[in-house]
């Protein structure tokens, strides 16, 4: 029947046009990182009519099937986990690098060394006013450097805290978005372009969440994703169409604690885990810095108390305050430096007390060794984190490449498809033309 040829040609035209549309869609989204390659399935259309045992087939051409979306749950998951681990290491690395520059550039170590050097110079001639003044000024500079270090460390801490707060909002937005997508997915029909787009959005939201927290998603049969945050304990974030809210609070020492609803948890992965452990390390650094300042204060003031000033009176405290934040020179005049041992007469050039102070400052438990140890420990930690995040970056980028290979658009194969489908379209139109000619031939019979 010539009409059957018309129908077959028309179905072929429809199928190849729709495939062409999808190819164009793939090419247009070649640069879209959240897009997963689409493909149109096709099925043969055969109608079979039977009367008794006599069956007759009538060919109906092709039937455009469903829109298939390239997906691979396993590779998606690998990429998510790798990016989660990378985000954790990188967030911690960035935060601690801030702390490292804060402590290195504030010159705490240099300040302590200069203070010791000025005191050593004073031993030469303990009564020379210029040397006494320069020793007091070196003490003032050291105190200032401690306060700068304290301020820059607080600054680095508040930057990390601000990032944690901001990213918590992002996580809550993503969770809400995912819940909304879940709700839409329940109603979306299998094999439609709309469903494929929803699945793209779902995977995007999951990737976004995985960057911030280590997550354990459960993909249900209808395509919806339930997400729980890994941690101690693991907590549910998105269940079906409902999303819980993550909240964060900061302790007095700057460390962060997270909660979903009323359940508090310690995150086990993602940038939040990195930031949270960076905040804990910063709290440790703050304690160390305060201890250093405290030891400089205690040693200097104890030496002052055990000695005699230039006028023979008992030495008064050199430093006030108790930590890096409030250390300051309180000694009114440079004459008050107690260089001589207690009981020395006025104008004594005895440097016994000064030598004792220098010995305790330079001891292995003194502030300069302490500052050196603190900086060495911190920079080793940062170097280790850098190496770690470089390694994880390689893992993550290869997982990403793997994911793109599975789901991304290959322009060469799309170009080949374009040619193939164009030819199919032309061939189908040729079929219609032949059908028309056949029809004309029949009509032209005389």
């Amino acid at each position: 029947m010539p009409t059957a040829i018309f129908t077959i040609g028309r179905s072929g035209l429809t199928a190849s046009r729709r495939s062409l549309e999808l190819t164009a869609q793939n090419i247009a989204n070649a640069a879209n990182p959240d897009y997963s390659r689409r493909n149109l399935t096709q099925g043969e259309l055969v109608m079979t009519g039977s009367i008794g045992t006599n069956a007759v087939d009538s060919l109906g051409g092709v039937r455009p099937g469903i829109i298939e979306r390239a997906e691979s749950g396993l590779v998606q998951r690998q990429a998510r986990d790798a990016s989660s681990a990378l985000a954790a290491a990188e967030a911690e690395f960035q935060a601690l690098r801030e702390a490292e520059s804060a402590l290195e550039t504030s010159g705490v170590f240099g300040g302590i060394v200069d203070y010791e050097a000025a005191l050593t110079r004073l031993q030469n001639n303990p009564l020379e006013p210029a040397l006494r003044l320069s020793a007091v000024e070196a003490a003032r500079k050291m105190a200032g450097n401690f306060r700068i270090a304290n301020g820059t460390l607080a600054n680095a801490r508040s930057l990390v805290q601000a990032e944690v707060s901001a990213e918590t909002l992002t996580v809550n937005e993503l969770a809400k978005e995912l819940a909304a997508i879940n709700a839409d997915l329940v109603g979306a029909r299998e094999g439609t372009a709309g469903r494929a787009a929803l699945l793209d959005a779902r995977d995007k939201a999951l990737r976004g969440l995985a960057e911030e927290f280590g997550i354990q998603p459960t993909i249900n049969a209808n395509g919806t994703a339930d997400v729980s945050i890994t941690g101690t304990p693991a907590v549910a974030l998105v269940t079906g169409a409902t999303a819980a809210a993550v909240s964060v609070t900061y302790a007095a020492d700057g460390t962060a604690s997270f909660a979903v609803g009323a359940t508090s948890f310690v995150p086990a992965g993602g940038a939040m885990a990195g930031r949270s452990s960076a905040l804990a390390e910063m709290a440790g650094l703050q304690v160390e810095l305060d201890a250093l300042a405290g030891s400089a204060i205690t040693l200097s003031n104890a030496a002052q108390a055990g000695g005699a000033a230039a006028d023979g009176t008992p030495g008064q405290p050199l430093f006030g305050g108790s930590g890096a934040g409030d250390i300051d020179v309180v000694l009114g005049s440079a004459d008050g430096l107690a260089t001589a041992p207690a009981g020395s007469p006025a104008g004594s050039r005895d440097t016994g007390n000064l030598a004792a102070l220098l010995a305790s400052l330079g001891a292995a438990s003194g502030p300069s060794s302490g500052a050196d140890r603190m900086l060495l420990g911190l920079s080793s930690r940062v170097a280790a984190l850098e190496t770690r995040s470089q390694g994880l970056a390689v893992v993550s980028s290869s997982a990403e490449a793997e994911l793109l290979r599975e789901t991304g658009v290959d322009l060469d194969s799309e170009a080949a498809n374009l040619v193939r489908l164009q030819q199919a379209f032309e061939a189908n139109s040729r079929v219609i033309q032949v059908a028309a000619e056949l029809f004309d031939t029949i009509l032209g019979l005389r």
């Binding site: 390659r37 493909n39 104008g347 220098l358 900086l375 793109l404 060469d412």
Partner: protein, 306 residues
């Protein structure tokens, strides 16, 4: 569809990441060359940064110790000059005592000798209270006041402390600042404590008529002057030894400064030749990688199909 393709996005991502790596390597080498420092932050090489910190600490202390040694050398030199002058003065006093002990020298001659001895006593007193370049007393020990005081009766007493204190000039090395006056001008004469001032003062008084037998007094004073000379000679030796020690320490400080600078340079400075070769190598790699990227990214089927 489960076919695996070579995604275009993956190719671009990979190429960009590799070129960014090369570029950041070039940036780092360039800043190493520009600043001359291999390490910008401690975490680039924690061990080297710790070494640099300890070198910086040693350098700061070494520079202060160098200043201390230089000033100590000056102070010791000033003290030695004074002690040498005192030795010359005592030798002159000994000659005068010898003359006075000579019987033919008449009463007038002894008066003249007494006048000169009085002058010498004055000079001795002012030299004993000599000060350093910065105005500190040279022979007062750890006291900042005058070393010797003289009361109305002309009796000179030591007002300083018996210790002069030490100045640190190198790690673990402290050198005594000088000699306290009691070790330069006071001595023990036949079991009784005496001093150069007492000997000269006593002789002057005896020659001015304070003693019935000036010749015997002058003879007796010779022993005291000899003891005073012994004491100053010993002081000269001690001061000279300490100055030699300071010189030696200064030499060592110079050597250590060079060693510290070499160490700092080895640990923290950029090896320019190496850095430039590395820069050139990385730049060649980047250029090649860019060229390859341009060639490969042009290989698309869309160009072939026309």
């Amino acid at each position: 569809m489960s076919s695996v393709t070579n995604s275009t996005g993956s190719f671009f991502n990979r190429s960009l990441a590799q070129m960014a790596d090369l570029r950041s390597g070039i940036e780092r080498t360039r800043s190493q060359i520009a600043t001359g420092r291999k390490i910008e932050r401690g975490s680039q090489d924690p061990a080297a940064a710790a070494q640099l910190r300890s070198v910086a600490q040693r350098e700061a202390l070494a520079s202060v110790e160098g200043d201390n040694a230089a000033r100590l050398g000056q102070d010791l030199g000033a003290a030695a000059t004074e002690v040498e002058a005192v030795t010359a003065l005592l030798q002159r006093a000994r000659e005068l005592a010898l003359q006075a002990a000579n019987a033919p020298t008449g009463a007038d001659g002894r008066q003249a000798i007494a006048a000169e001895l009085e002058q010498l006593s004055q000079e001795l007193f002012s030299r004993a209270n000599g000060t350093s370049l910065t105005g500190e007393p040279l022979f007062a020990g750890q006291s900042s006041g005058v070393a010797f005081t003289r009361d109305a009766a002309g009796v000179v007493t030591y007002a300083g402390t018996p210790e002069s204190g030490a100045v640190p000039v190198a790690p673990g090395t402290a050198i005594e600042r000088g000699l306290p006056g009691n070790e330069v001008f006071q001595f023990d004469l036949n079991g009784t404590p005496s001093s150069a001032f007492a000997v000269l003062g006593g002789l002057t008084a005896a020659l001015q008529g304070g003693a019935p037998d000036p010749v015997a007094a002058a003879n007796a004073a010779l022993e005291g002057i000899d003891a005073a000379l012994d004491t100053t000679n010993r002081a000269t030796t001690i001061l000279g030894t300490r100055m030699a020690w300071v010189d030696q320490v200064q030499d060592q400080q110079g050597d250590r400064k060079i060693a510290l600078a070499e160490r700092r340079s080895r640990v923290g400075d950029t090896d320019i030749g190496d850095a430039i070769a590395r820069l050139q190598q990385t730049m060649t790699a980047l250029e090649a990688s860019q060229a390859a990227f341009a060639r490969v990214s042009a290989l698309t089927l869309f160009d072939a199909l026309r």
